[in-house]
């Protein structure tokens, strides 16, 4: 309990610092918001344009599919707002040796590495993905229980998405240069933006059980539509635990390799 309180306290300070920083770079603030808006628009419109020419893709109608896209946007939104900066920071800190200071702080080091940058600008945009989620949810005819579950499932899916990406980021201990890894990380992220049934058998299995990016969105959304499909969701929870453990293992091994470039 005391530990949890400490982390909350520290996080409050992160938020205050990021807010202070954002307010001194106003142009930056606006541009970050624009990035998100462009991204949301292009994601939704791409799918919408395809549906201009087909009635269903797999089992899903336009509304269901766009609900899925919105679900992934809600995860992306949390991701952009809370973590996205961390991967790039991490690689910079590894290369320059600036990681030293974070290693010295008496707190779980992964916390400051991945969570000390918050984008307050993105917080303003919360209405966009959630507005879409509600709009397409209504159209897709979500049940009352599903509405209650929705926020929780977004958080669970977000947790898995972040765990996968942090584990991939651990590879930077070995590669040092980061563009390739970050590129790979983002590509995997974009794989999860399409429902798992569009992937052929082998790919679907691989990205469900080995690198489980496909269940991030597909599992919870399928469950929201039909409670009998609960197994993938259970897999999501299991994978979260597995990835927590893997991150811990790789973090420890990676740290032994850290050379802390000096000046």
């Amino acid at each position: 309990m005391r530990v949890l309180k400490k982390y909350l306290h520290v996080y409050q300070a992160y938020f205050a610092m990021n807010l202070a920083q954002a307010s001194s770079f106003r142009m930056h603030f606006v541009l970050v918001i624009l990035v998100d808006i462009f991204f949301y628009a292009s994601s939704l419109l791409s799918v919408s344009f395809i549906y201009d020419h087909v009635d269903t893709i797999g089992p899903w109608t336009r509304e269901e599919f766009l609900f899925f896209v919105s679900f992934m946007l809600a995860i992306d939104h949390l991701h952009m707002m809370l973590v996205a900066h961390g991967y790039w920071e991490f690689s910079r800190e590894l290369r320059t040796g600036d990681l030293d200071f974070k290693l010295l702080k008496p707190i779980g080091t992964l916390f400051p590495i991945f969570f000390d940058r918050v984008r307050p600008g993105s917080a303003l945009l919360i209405f966009v993905p959630w507005g879409c989620l509600i709009y397409f949810g209504v159209q897709a005819g979500l049940s009352p229980l599903s509405w209650v579950l929705l926020p929780f499932l977004v958080v669970v899916a977000f947790t898995l998405a972040v765990s996968i990406q942090i584990l991939i980021a651990m590879v930077m201990f070995w590669t040092i240069e980061s563009i390739g890894i970050n590129f790979l990380r983002m590509q995997l992220q974009s794989l999860s933006r399409w429902p798992d049934f569009v992937y052929l058998y082998f790919f679907r299995k691989f990205f469900t059980f080995f690198i489980p990016v496909l269940i991030v969105g597909s599992a919870p959304v399928k469950f929201l539509f039909d409670y009998s499909v609960w197994q993938p969701l259970a897999l999501v929870c299991a994978m979260i635990l597995l990835f927590f453990w893997l991150i811990r293992v790789f973090w420890r091994i990676g740290l032994r390799r850290y050379e802390s470039a000096s000046s």
């Binding site: 541009l31 797999g58 240069e177 390739g180």
Partner: protein
């Protein structure tokens, strides 16, 4: 040595540095090569196969499944030549104050970055050739002919220069902004969406396509593909001229921004 030879040797050795830098980190380099191909096979191939097969559709706006896969394979190829520079180093040079060194060098900032860009393009051409051979033998594409192929490569390389000019221009904003990655990402998202890199422009609402014709976007992916496929409807010369026009316009803006930025920079005495 004539002054021309001397200048050429400067360009050449800078290009060499560009190539060396690109390959300095093994895994990084491999991922950058494999990455785009991976995306193609994983997302696009799967997505379109499932759209067509799950519904038993044979044709969307004139695209059969094979044509759609072919189109996406061409997107992969065109992007290998066209969307290579990312302007990150450039912005970093400015932000970390390394611009000053170029004021002293006998090889200015613009030349240095242009030469390293050309260096990267050399490596990209090799990757392009390899990918082309693989995609060709996999039977994913049917080139229209040698002339169309060469015209297409030329077109795509020009787009590469256009892309570089844009990145250069965006990088210049580092004189005024703390960070420029947002501008780059906005441009990347917009370009991917409006250039036909995600879905062919034929599938877009026709009013949107008409508007887009007045922008450089369709020239970045859609038209180069049409040239490769021998289906480019307009005159090829006109297409090249339009590309040159856009390169010229954006380069002018970029050089203007460079001059203004430098003045700001030196005036601030940093």
């Amino acid at each position: 040595m004539t002054s021309l030879q001397r200048e050429a040797s400067k360009w050449l050795s800078t290009m060499q540095i560009g190539i060396t830098n690109q390959m300095a980190y093994k895994i990084n380099f491999l991922l950058m090569i494999i990455g785009p191909a991976l995306v193609f096979f994983l997302i696009k191939y799967n997505l379109w196969v499932s759209i067509y097969s799950l519904e038993g559709i044979t044709e969307i706006k004139g695209y059969t499944l094979e044509a759609m896969i072919g189109y996406q394979a061409w997107v992969l190829l065109v992007e290998l030549l066209a969307k290579t520079s990312n302007g990150r180093n450039l912005a970093e040079d400015i932000r970390l104050g390394r611009v000053t060194t170029y004021l002293i060098y006998p090889f200015d900032f613009w030349k240095f970055h242009s030469a390293s860009f050309l260096g990267t393009q050399v490596v990209q051409c090799v990757i392009f050739s390899l990918t082309f051979v693989i995609v060709l033998f996999a039977g994913l594409i049917e080139p229209a002919g040698v002339f169309q192929f060469l015209a297409g490569v030329g077109f795509a390389l020009l787009v590469g220069i256009l892309w570089y000019s844009v990145q250069f221009f965006v990088g210049m904003m580092a004189f005024w902004l703390e960070e420029t990655w947002m501008l780059r990402v906005i441009f990347q998202i917009t370009a991917a969406f409006l250039s036909g890199a995600i879905i062919p422009l034929e599938l877009y609402p026709s009013w949107l396509v008409q508007v887009l014709d007045f922008t450089p976007f369709p020239y970045m992916t859609f038209y180069p593909i049409k040239v490769f496929q021998g289906e480019y409807s307009g005159s090829l010369l006109e297409g090249y001229l339009i590309l040159f026009f856009w390169i010229f316009v954006i380069m002018m803006f970029a050089r203007f921004a460079l001059r203004r930025g430098m003045r700001l920079y030196t005036a601030a005495g940093m």
